[in-house]
């Protein structure tokens, strides 16, 4: 069961019987949407044209892309689905595990790696994509048709990741745990003078007079969006997209057109998509919202004078887009309090996911503006708010001075002994990372050896774009997670059941002025150790790295492959759980103390 009410659709519902026929079951992503079957129909048509037709890319190549993207997005539902599909296509499990943990060591042909890197960049940082990235993919022999398919796959990955989180779909198979994002230097970063004037791929002219979907758009909107024209290599895909637009956006059963357009606008702004912010501002204008008011909604909807219910709806939407790993049943409470029905909430979820789909498409194909832009969102290297909270790249920005740089250079130059210095400097940090994840000191010691051996093996490819210590902690974190999955296939840092959304302080007892005074240092240490060990792994590792090892927020986020908002929220939760646990020991009236 997901977050929303479900109804029985009967055996005759075509998309479900097609799923049963092809897969033997109906994926929970779609079952969770049974309240609005028309949405399921539009989505499955989109899926069919994206995934099931072999053109430039094979199904195997597409599923590999989807698996790596699901891992990058830390989406267990999608990761499990594509892992299972690849098993059915005959990929050996070791290969899949390697893809999930680090595709660079999965022995893929260089051309396939180039596709994956393009996909990961588009997934993590759409606004930075430029013609140069597409040219790079072309240089590996990929046609424009292949580029278009990768873009579509990325857009679908965004859509399904967002929607599966939103509806609370539970994995259709035994959940495949996903490691923290792999440590790797991001492919070609952002360049301010890059050519972003699209379209990046060839697009034969399709005429509205002869191509029905374009005729429909011209009639409904008065224009044919360039993002669709740019895809004219694949009229079948455009047909499915226009059908989705018609069903999701132009059929008003539950949410009003105004509510839908506001969602599309704030999601596009959160994704920093200049093109779509202009499109939705324009459509809002036709619905009677002035461009200035639309700007207010795009920039800060809470200050835009909307009513409490509409504000809550946009809060909900943004939480899903910006902090998917923290999204949960508690986020539905305010909407239900404001009287939104499950049907309306489902529409909001699908529209939010569809906005991610369209934004990603536009970044990837580089469609030219249809309207003068309202806000130009320049690509930025340190992202404030966008799609990706779990990108496989380090977000520290440029590293000016790394105290380990010299030792690293010596090892890279062949001086193997210098590696011992690096081990000695960082063994405690690596140990804490591993205890944080594994919750067991002996196992952590064993995993330390693996971590350092891996680091040594891969040091050749370390280019110093992040600090060595951050890179090392991320290897430790991946090593720990891999052990977790071997130990227990269903555990990952995301599988711990959240007890509830907000934390409500239970213990309201003042602590003594100097709480540590009544205990010996050893006693405090072991008290803390006992209670930290009792935390769920995802909070434990964050408290361990942030408070005990005292890494910066940015370093911890990069090492664990988490976004800053997700990291902060786990960190606070961990701290507050410890506050509860330690209060009986440190309260002013506590009777503890040295024996």
């Amino acid at each position: 069961m997901g977050f929303l009410r479900e109804v029985e659709l009967g055996v005759s519902f075509a998309p479900f019987s097609a799923f049963r026929e092809h897969f033997g079951f109906v994926p929970s992503l779609f079952r969770c949407q049974s309240l609005l079957p028309r949405l399921v129909e539009a989505e499955t048509a989109l899926l069919a044209s994206t995934l099931f037709k072999d053109r430039s890319l094979s199904r195997l190549q597409k599923e590999r892309l989807l698996l790596v993207l699901a891992a990058a997005n830390r989406n267990v539902y999608c990761g499990t689905a594509h892992y299972q599909m690849l098993c059915l296509l005959g990929e050996p499990e070791e290969q899949l595990d390697q893809l999930v943990s680090d595709y660079r060591h999965a022995d893929l042909p260089a051309a396939d790696v180039a596709l994956l890197q393009f996909a990961l960049k588009l997934n993590a940082d759409g606004p930075t994509i430029s013609r140069k990235d597409v040219t790079e993919v072309n240089s590996h022999g990929w046609t424009d048709g292949a580029v278009q398919e990768v873009v579509l796959i990325c857009a679908w990955a965004k859509f399904s990741s967002c929607l599966s989180t939103g509806v609370g779909a539970s994995p259709d198979f035994e959940a495949v745990p996903l490691p923290a994002a792999v440590p790797f230097d991001p492919p070609a970063g952002f360049e301010s003078d890059a050519d972003r004037e699209g379209p990046y791929i060839g697009a034969p002219d399709l005429k509205a007079d002869t191509f029905e979907p374009f005729a429909f758009l011209r009639e409904r909107f008065g224009f044919i969006p360039n993002v669709l024209r740019a895809q004219s290599l694949r009229p079948d895909v455009i047909e499915a997209e226009v059908e989705a637009i018609r069903v999701l956006l132009l059929t008003d059963d539950h949410l009003t057109p105004l509510q839908k357009e506001r969602i599309l606008l704030v999601v596009s702004a959160a994704n920093r998509n200049t093109y779509f912010v202009a499109v939705h501002s324009e459509i809002l204008r036709t619905l009677g919202i002035s461009p200035d008011d639309a700007d207010k909604i795009a920039v800060e909807h809470r200050q835009a004078g909307l009513g409490a219910a509409d504000t809550a709806l946009l809060d909900f939407t943004l939480k899903l887009v910006q902090e998917p790993l923290e999204f949960g049943s508690e986020d539905f409470v305010p909407l239900r309090r404001h009287g939104f029905t499950d049907e309306q909430i489902l529409e909001a979820l699908v529209i939010t996911s569809f906005a991610n789909f369209l934004n990603t498409l536009q970044f990837g194909v580089g469609a030219k503006a249809d309207f003068p832009p309202r806000h130009v969102f320049a690509p930025v290297s340190t992202k404030v708010a966008n799609l990706s909270v779990a990108e496989p790249r380090l977000t520290e920005g440029s590293v000016t001075s790394d105290p380990d740089a010299e030792a690293v250079a010596r090892v890279q130059g062949g001086e193997v002994d210098a590696f011992e210095d690096l081990i000695n400097r960082h063994s405690r940090r690596v140990y804490r990372t591993l205890v944080g994840i594994l919750g067991n000191p002996e196992e952590a010691c064993d995993a330390m050896q693996d971590t350092f051996l891996k680091a040594f093996q891969h040091l050749g490819s370390f280019q110093g774009r992040s600090k060595f210590s951050t890179w090392l902690v991320s290897i430790a974190s991946n090593t720990g997670l891999q052990l977790l999955r071997e130990r227990k296939r269903v555990q990952s840092l995301d599988d711990d059941v959240d007890t509830d959304g907000g934390f409500r302080p239970q213990q309201i007892r003042a602590w003594s002025d100097d709480p540590e005074q009544s205990y010996s240092k050893t006693e405090v240490r072991s008290l803390v150790e006992d209670h930290v060990m009792k935390l769920p792994a995802k909070y434990r590792v964050v408290v361990m790295l942030r408070d005990i090892e005292q890494l910066s927020i940015e370093e911890t986020a990069a090492a664990l492959g988490l976004g800053i908002p997700a990291l902060k929220s786990r960190h606070l939760r961990g701290r507050m759980m410890l506050r509860e646990a330690l209060t009986p020991h440190f309260a002013a009236t506590a009777t503890g103390g040295a024996a």
Binding site: R509, A510, E516, V528, R579
Partner: protein
């Protein structure tokens, strides 16, 4: 004026010293008259202090030395074999 729920929404940033001056002033005026939030904040602050001061999960040299030696031995052995 902010209420207890607003304060709890900001406590994470406040503990990190990462709130705008205006918000800080609002939080402080709330804390000045709300004893419950004051207690929660004070104990949370002390929790952080205990965590950062405790030096827990230290790895004694006796444990780290053999690990380093083992890793280096394997690296050197690999070097000889390749």
């Amino acid at each position: 004026m902010i209420n207890c729920a607003d304060f709890m929404a900001e406590i994470g940033n406040y503990l990190e010293g990462d709130v705008a001056a205006e918000v800080r002033a609002q939080i402080e005026s709330h804390l000045a008259h709300c004893q419950t939030c004051q207690i929660v904040y004070d104990s949370a602050r002390k929790t952080v202090k205990v965590l950062t001061d405790c030096g827990s999960f230290d790895l004694p040299e006796a444990a780290s030395k053999p690990i380093a030696a083992n890793v280096m031995a394997r690296i050197r052995a690999q070097g000889r074999n390749s």
